[in-house]
Subunit: 364 residues, 2 copies
């Protein structure tokens, strides 16, 4: 019975005691969460300032209500009140939040202090949340939601202090994808440690996770960097940012075309590591074919099909290691922010993207 | 342009020249394949003796036709004639085949000789196939289909010679899952090489891939082996086979229960490597929670959800490496057959399962 206290602590750390139902599932899978403001010894409470709704979730609500901001706001409030979390039941997604640390339990392992200005790195789909201002300062017409209320972080939740030297919107954009550069750097580093500086191909290289992965691969010791993009204007942007040695155009859903451009860029060889960051289905076969025997494919795209990857590699007799892109790697937030600070190309791409998205926001 | 011949050879090796449509996709994704019996320099032709339909595919056809064997036979013939491969359009699955090697191209890398009795290790969904006997010796009422005709193997297809010392049905049953023990052994071996003999938990341990994975983990140097099964009669069978140090009962879809039994079996610690072999959805969170920080989860179950794994690990701040179970590892067939020969427990479980399935077959 010696393991019982450890087990109870482990269960508390993932927030099981906050699951109101159904019994036995984790907070993410729960219908409703217990949002009591009083915190447990390993919890922390955040005074909420802003929710950032997941893009897919906001789009679904906006379309459903034909752009009626009042109706969108009413439904977001309704979801949060009913579930105790901002977990869109249609898209299954949530978002992130920013706020100020209000109280920290004595056993919280998160390293936060009262007064810290933080952004969460775990999904709103598993974060107990109460809204107290009726979202009165939000017009229901953008993903950025000014809000008052409180949220609870568990022992195993993650949050990071927003640095003073970077604009907050830029920090949030980076946090959204910070697992990708950290895992890419780890895998590249494992090759480099064995004295085999790898050739790396990033598919979907001009996007947020793609550009960060390129910068991370360079930083971790890749010997050659190929960035694959679908359209010329992305190639132009990526070329200006200087993140890749070779920039190639290809439709990632065409396995022959994709592996051909990767090989052309690498003098006839396949990539040692292929990083899939393009968010369309059907890129598994091309990524596998672009990767050398004994190489590694890292799938970050949420459009990845497990069975297409598993059966595809088998059908191709491809001896490749295929990783599910885990969004969490210790130190991932700091690492991503350091890349943003140190790599002008990354920063330029992110700022251009934020500018475009703000323009899109205004036009919508 | 120096890479062009290499590219052309690579495209031929995966069978692109046999895709009749749509253009650009791999044979598995193709609607129809070119089944011309004349072989290319790196191809081999098999004289077909028997098809083994994938269980899901056969069940779908059998149910659709309410057990009318004539109708099932007619539809299988129709599919093969229309598509040039046995690729069930509803289930997306195929099966395997056995036969005798008829002709081998001078550049075939498969190591086959004319007259070899072989079983394919790549899916029928990507294997060009012609049936010439109208399947007249099959009653349409079992997955085992006596057949005459020919099939084509590409340079990157895989086939293995059926050994004389083992019953053919046993060999086929093992071939169906032979990627699992090989990959498990590789991952365990990587830990062992670093001097860290790992604790391994296999979820769904009494099944074909599960029992093989346990045997492989032992063989590759695991220090402790936990087998988790859902019901007592599987625990009894697994205990009799002697493949695990500890056998635990749990519903793998209950993350708390699953991680609790794994920890109980390992004296309060989580597993270094967790192998998921249970073919029901919803086991991702439990597998992640059962695995130590820095550990590895190998997902072999085709019911695995990519997003549940990726978002689950992020939500739990779990630093675990998550592998998509690639069905191909060089030498996997020989390795699995060696385990079958050397481990009486594995053989006993497989023979019991074959016996049960034959009884099931008769009763259906």
């Amino acid at each position: 019975m010696t393991e019982e206290p450890a087990l109870a602590a482990a269960n508390r750390a993932v927030g099981l005691h906050r699951v109101a139902g159904p019994a036995g599932v984790l907070p993410q899978a729960a219908d409703t969460l217990d949002t009591t403001p009083g915190i447990g010894p390993d919890e922390a409470r955040i005074r909420v300032e802003r929710l950032n709704l997941d893009a897919a979730s906001f789009r679904q609500l906006y379309d459903k209500h034909h752009g009626d901001g009042e109706a969108v706001r009413a439904e977001v409030l309704e979801i949060i009140e009913a579930r105790g979390k901002m977990h869109n039941p249609v898209t299954g997604s949530g978002g992130m939040l920013t706020g100020v640390v209000d109280e920290v339990g004595p056993e919280s392992p998160l390293g936060l202090h009262v007064g810290d200005h933080v952004t969460t790195l775990v999904s709103l789909t598993l974060t107990p949340l109460v809204i107290t201002d009726g979202l009165k300062d939000w017009d229901g017409r953008s993903e950025q939601v000014p809000a008052r209320g409180h949220a609870i972080l568990f022992g195993r939740s993650i949050a990071t202090v927003i640095p003073n030297d970077l604009p907050a919107p830029l920090v949030m954009a980076v946090m959204d994808v910070c697992g990708a550069p950290a895992l890419t750097a780890r895998v590249v580093g494992q090759y480099a440690e064995r004295g085999q500086a790898p050739a790396v191909a990033v598919i979907g290289a001009a996007g947020k996770s793609g550009s960060m992965s390129l910068a991370a691969a360079r930083h971790a010791g890749a010997k050659a960097l190929v960035g694959v993009v679908p359209v010329e204007h992305e190639a132009v942007a990526l070329r200006r940012a200087g993140l890749a040695d070779e920039i190639m155009l290809a439709d990632a859903r065409d396995p022959v075309a994709l592996s051909a451009v990767v090989r052309t860029a690498l003098g006839g060889e396949a990539a040692d590591i292929t990083v899939v960051c393009v968010d369309v289905p059907g890129c598994e076969h091309g990524a596998i074919l672009s990767t050398a025997e004994g190489g590694t494919v890292i799938f970050f795209s949420m459009a990845t099909s497990f069975s297409a990857a598993a059966l595809g590699a088998e059908g191709l007799a491809a001896d490749v290691t295929m990783l599910i892109g885990n969004g969490y790697v210790p130190g991932h937030a700091e690492y991503a922010l350091d890349l943003l600070r140190s790599d002008p190309g990354v920063r330029q791409l992110f700022e251009a993207r934020l500018g475009a998205s703000e323009r899109d926001g205004r036009s919508g």
